[in-house]
């Protein structure tokens, strides 16, 4: 099945190397407000329809340390509902939504367990 592409940083995270500070290579701007954090994985799920963004999030959360954040950029309108609902069902924190540079909504999640 088709998967969402991870950002460069996210691919780095998959290799197990320490995550580098944000240098503008990522595909999304850092979310504002409580979600603001320089060192986070951003999944690119543009063009992926539900439930793929949530599936991708579920696959990649294992690579995130407890207390750290992961974001998913998704233009499917269902993601706005399904990312927070997934957080509720899985016990993670939904930190909010902010637009990426291209305006695509980016949803930020903090791993809780």
């Amino acid at each position: 099945m088709s998967e969402c592409e991870g950002s460069q940083r996210e691919r780095e995270a998959k290799t197990g190397r320490p995550v580098a500070p944000r240098d503008g290579v990522g595909s999304a701007t850092p979310p504002a407000g409580p979600a603001e954090k320089a060192t986070q994985i951003v999944l690119d799920c543009r063009g992926r329809r539900c439930p793929l963004p949530v599936i991708e999030l579920a696959r990649r959360i294992a690579g995130v340390r407890v207390g750290e954040q992961i974001a998913v950029a998704a233009d499917d309108p269902a993601a706005r509902l399904d990312v927070p609902a997934w957080c509720r069902m899985r016990g993670h924190d939904f930190l909010g939504e902010s637009p990426a540079e291209d305006g695509v909504p980016t949803y930020t999640v903090r791993r809780r367990r």
Partner: protein, 417 residues
């Protein structure tokens, strides 16, 4: 009031209906359904199977009520008599007067007429329309039209169970310039019953007429009193499709949003479909008679579905109010599952259900009801039962569902995520 008296069916007529059913066994109620049964049809909230009383009345009225009821000749007068009888029957079932009942082409049209007509009649009071965020799309589309014509609309949110905040609704209704309020009796997607009694009181206090879309409630639950406008749809209660009911209470200001027509006291244009209306009325009377017993029976089956799905399907969210709900309807969402794939796979196994997931909608957006509630929208299934649904049908569905969901998750490579 007397129901329309239908002529005894000619033998050929009755034989035809039996013969037709026998000649086409098990026709298209889901491909896997056993011949001649409707056991796998679990989408009554879209359209309930025709009530046997409706079928009988329809066939008789096709023979007797085909003429134009506005004409003065004998055939016209016979059609008029049937129409008047049907109107009296529907009025009685809804606790209204016959002259308050209008027949039109669908529940959607009835809601359009209720909302736009109610707003037109109150133009001097203002142009605000207050409605809940989970109204049927027919009400929301009427609201869009109102807004496009320069009116103001206010959508009041709901809680996680889909119930509107009665205090917030009251506060919006009380604001100056409010012309009309619209709150459905019960939600068509998640079954949650709305606090109509509280909203009736706050509307009365503010002097604002209330429209209630009772499409899912009529024939299943007692319709609460106190509304000014009501809309309903015959094919939701077991009548034929193509009959909508609009009730405008005496004293309610209403102005037609459509070009003038003398039919239906000027409230709905075009010649009435008398045979279908007669069938709708006859089946409504039958439904009301059996509603209490059916509500108890179906509500227990829905409870069984709610409990069993939660216990047997991992990562499922059962949606809507577990207590204050319609007796015949339940909705749940399965994590990581594509709603369209789930619907089609259930259809392949002989079960017809509906879905609020975005992949099943023409616009590829999730249901506005699920969105307003903030619940999981993918992998969504709505199951709605009817008078022919048996406990065995429900058990068959519950036996098949966990395997179908597990297979879809396995195929998608998401099992155990």
């Amino acid at each position: 009031m007397q129901a329309p008296r239908v002529r005894t069916l000619p033998r050929t007529c009755g034989d035809y209906s039996l013969g037709a059913a026998a000649a086409r066994p098990g026709r298209a109620y889901g491909r896997g359904v056993a011949a001649g049964t409707r056991g796998g049809y679990l989408d009554a909230a879209s359209a309930a199977p025709l009530h046997p009383v409706a079928r009988e009345a329809l066939l008789a009225a096709l023979g007797d009520g085909w003429a134009d009821p506005a004409r003065l000749h004998g055939a016209g007068r016979r059609a008029r008599l049937l129409l008047d009888g049907a109107r009296a029957t529907v009025a009685e079932a809804l606790g209204a007067r016959p002259d308050e009942v209008t027949f039109c082409g669908s529940g959607t049209q009835a809601a359009h007429l209720a909302v736009l007509g109610g707003l037109a009649g109150r133009r001097r009071a203002g142009s605000r329309l207050v409605h809940s965020a989970v109204e049927h799309s027919c009400v929301l589309h009427a609201a869009e039209r109102h807004e496009a014509s320069g009116g103001e609309t206010v959508s009041v949110g709901v809680d996680r169970l889909g119930r509107v905040d009665a205090a917030a609704f009251a506060a919006e209704v009380a604001r100056p310039g409010t012309a009309l309020a619209s709150l459905m009796t019960a939600n068509h997607e998640v079954g949650t019953v709305q606090p109509i009694a509280e909203v009736v009181a706050s509307c009365a206090a503010a002097g604002v007429p209330l429209h209630t879309d009772a499409a899912q409630a009529v024939g299943r639950l007692p319709v609460p009193a106190g509304w000014s406008l009501l809309s309903a749809s015959a094919h939701k209660w077991g009548g034929p499709p193509g009959v909508g009911v609009l009730v405008v209470r005496t004293g309610t200001r209403w102005g037609s949003p459509l070009p003038a027509d003398e039919r239906e006291r000027g409230r709905a244009p075009g010649a009435e479909n008398v045979p279908a209306i007669v069938a709708a009325a006859a089946s409504l009377r039958a439904r009301v008679g059996e509603a209490a017993a059916e509500a108890e029976r179906l509500s227990a089956l829905v409870e069984r579905i709610r409990a069993t799905v939660t216990a047997t399907v991992p990562d499922v969210e059962v949606i809507g109010d577990p207590v204050g709900r319609l007796p015949h309807l339940v909705t749940f969402s399965c994590l990581y599952v594509d709603g369209e794939a789930l619907l089609l796979e259930l259809d392949r196994r002989g079960f017809a259900v509906s879905s609020g997931s975005s992949c099943t909608s023409s616009t590829l957006t999730p249901s506005h009801v699920l969105e307003a509630m903030g619940v999981l929208s993918h992998g969504n299934v709505r199951v709605s039962l009817h008078r022919e649904t048996t406990a065995e049908d429900v058990d068959r569905f519950l036996a098949v569902l966990p395997g179908v969901v597990a297979d879809l998750r396995r195929t998608a490579g998401v099992a155990g995520l």
